[in-house]
């Protein structure tokens, strides 16, 4: 696999940042977009645009078909059982909110417990917090150890007869921990507890097989998977989607509407009210094709090599402290530099064209646990190279210089 060839498919890399070549290490936040995706948006808007499902003219038929093709590609990409199990949302946050809201409405009462972990992004905590406020649910946090791994034995202890749902990330956006979700799902299902997996970070980096995992719900954000913004995916087992109430009401999600009552559309339309991000969903098909053209195994190998290289180089810099040391780690590396606050690191690195993220990365619970107010984070995508890591390390050395530190 030739990475230079892959990088050349991303037009953003021809841009200079502060006169320097862009070293983009913020893919956990959002990935850059390949030309095929940008072109697809362009051609769809230029020559194919129509709303879907609402008209019988040719453009609408084509748009509806193209929209549906993406659904079929997603189904195949994550190995879902049927296309009815693939719901398009605004983002993974909305996917999780959809389940928290509809599942909560139907299944949560005062005193019921929701089990999440200390690794969770705010988007896999706040929607459950709403149920704490509205229904009197109790939220329990499964602890992590100092390496950033979930302590499975402690996790098991927190499951009680009152546990109604478990929600867990597949891959931490701070420590890069790949969570053994299959094991967790197995434990949960023995007690008939459904599991939602936040797959925001995992979708671009590891093979997802929802059938093999046997998860009940899986949330994905397309903009992190080399796709457009404004599109998320909710995978849910068909039984659940049939059983749960609808979420957002409006056009497109109804079957029949009278002054007295409303009946709802079949799946997946039941959960897709209003005009969808049509062009973006259509263009997301190109993101999947792009990833498949590289081959998910190649992608994983490339990022694994890059991560190991980066960890080795960063460990050799005395002033750098890495955050977490999980057993199974993907290309997300958070770190601190002695004497330089992460925000200052981000500003200084930006001067060298190196884009990282600094802050709490929407994980305040985790940062509190780690006793760190903020961290700096370098996260990788398919376009990153060893050269990028070398430039990152030089820029880190520069932080010490700017701060007059020995």
């Amino acid at each position: 696999m030739n990475i230079d060839n892959i990088k050349s498919q991303f037009p953003i890399f021809s841009k200079k940042i502060n006169g320097k070549s862009l070293v983009y290490l913020d893919s956990s936040n959002s990935s850059q977009k390949p030309m095929c995706v940008i072109n697809r948006l362009d051609t769809f808007y230029k020559s194919e645009f129509s709303n879907i499902g609402r008209s019988i003219h040719s453009l609408s038929v084509n748009a509806t078909n193209k929209f549906d093709e993406t659904r079929m590609s997603v189904k195949k990409f994550i190995n879902a059982g049927s296309k009815e199990e693939i719901i398009f949302t605004k983002n993974a946050t909305e996917s999780i909110n959809l389940i928290a809201s509809t599942f909560g409405q139907q299944n949560i009462k005062s005193g019921d417990e929701i089990l999440i972990t200390e690794l969770e992004h705010h988007s896999n905590y706040v929607p459950w917090h709403y149920l704490r406020e509205s229904k009197g649910a109790v939220i329990k946090f499964a602890p992590i150890n100092e390496d950033g791994d979930i302590i499975i034995s402690e996790f098991e202890k927190l499951i009680t007869p009152k546990t109604k749902i478990i929600a867990v990330t597949h891959l931490s956006n701070v420590t890069g921990t790949i969570v053994p979700v299959k094991e967790i799902i197995n434990i949960a299902h023995k007690k008939n507890i459904p599991v939602l997996v936040d797959g925001c970070q995992s979708a671009p980096h590891i093979k997802i097989d929802v059938k093999d995992l046997d998860c009940d719900f899986y949330a994905i954000s397309c903009h992190k998977v080399y796709g457009p913004t404004g599109v998320g995916i909710l995978y849910a087992k068909k039984d659940w989607l049939e059983k749960l109430p609808p979420y957002i009401g409006g056009g497109g999600m109804i079957s029949e509407v009278t002054k007295e009552k409303v009946s709802y559309a079949q799946l997946p339309e039941k959960y897709e009210a209003g005009t969808m991000p049509t062009a973006e969903v259509v263009a997301f098909n190109e993101s999947i094709k792009f990833m498949e053209s590289i081959g998910i195994e190649n992608l994983i190998n490339h990022e694994k090599k890059l991560t190991n290289y980066a960890l080795e180089k960063l460990r050799s810099i005395n002033s750098v402290q890495l955050v977490g040391n999980p057993k199974n780690k993907a290309g997300v590396i958070s770190f601190t530099i002695k004497g330089v606050h992460p925000h200052d690191i981000a500003t200084i690195l930006d001067e060298d064209g190196v884009a990282i993220r600094a802050g709490h990365h929407c994980c305040q619970i985790l940062h509190k646990k780690l006793n760190l107010p903020a961290t700096a984070r370098a996260s990788f995508g398919i376009y990153n190279t060893k050269d990028d890591i070398d430039i990152l390390c030089e820029a880190i050395e520069n932080c010490r210089k700017v701060f007059n530190l020995k």
Partner: protein
């Protein structure tokens, strides 16, 4: 843009060894500030005397070099000033950071003006302006007794 404009020696020094850090005794005004985007926190403690002169001004909190230095310099400059002069200095600073002219206050010594000007490099970095201004907005809240937390995003 030049990083040395932003990270001047005065800023690095105040960032590393902030003045007036901690909770002062007998404070009669206080306010908290928070930047939810990055997690910066500041807690300003203030003692106004009967004439509303700033008798004591200290802070606690965590943040980047810019935010700590800005807060540290603020406490040095405002401590001992009348209420009116304090407000003029605060307004002058916020105006400077937003791209306005340098701070012209008769209540500041030349040395103090150099200190406040050392923060002017921040205006070249739009994403860092809130780092520099959070504590100043928090001080206004404390002085005006608003009893409301300052949040950079509200």
């Amino acid at each position: 843009m030049d990083l040395k404009e932003l990270y001047q020696d005065i800023i690095l020094e105040h960032g590393k060894s902030p003045r007036n850090f901690g909770k002062c005794k007998n404070y009669n005004h206080q306010a908290r500030g928070h930047n939810p985007l990055c997690g910066d926190q500041v807690h300003v403690y203030l003692k106004l005397d009967k004439e509303k002169k700033v008798e004591q001004l200290t802070f606690e909190g965590s943040g980047c070099a810019i935010s700590i230095a800005s807060t540290s310099i603020m406490t040095e400059l405002v401590k001992g000033k009348s209420f009116k002069a304090s407000m003029e200095i605060i307004d002058g600073f916020l105006n400077m950071i937003k791209g306005g002219s340098e701070v012209k206050s008769n209540d500041l010594t030349e040395d103090q003006k150099i200190k406040i000007m050392s923060l002017s490099g921040v205006k070249q970095y739009p994403m860092r302006i809130k780092c520099a201004t959070l504590s100043w907005h928090t001080l206004i809240s404390a002085m005006e007794n608003k009893d409301k937390d300052v949040n950079t995003e509200i």
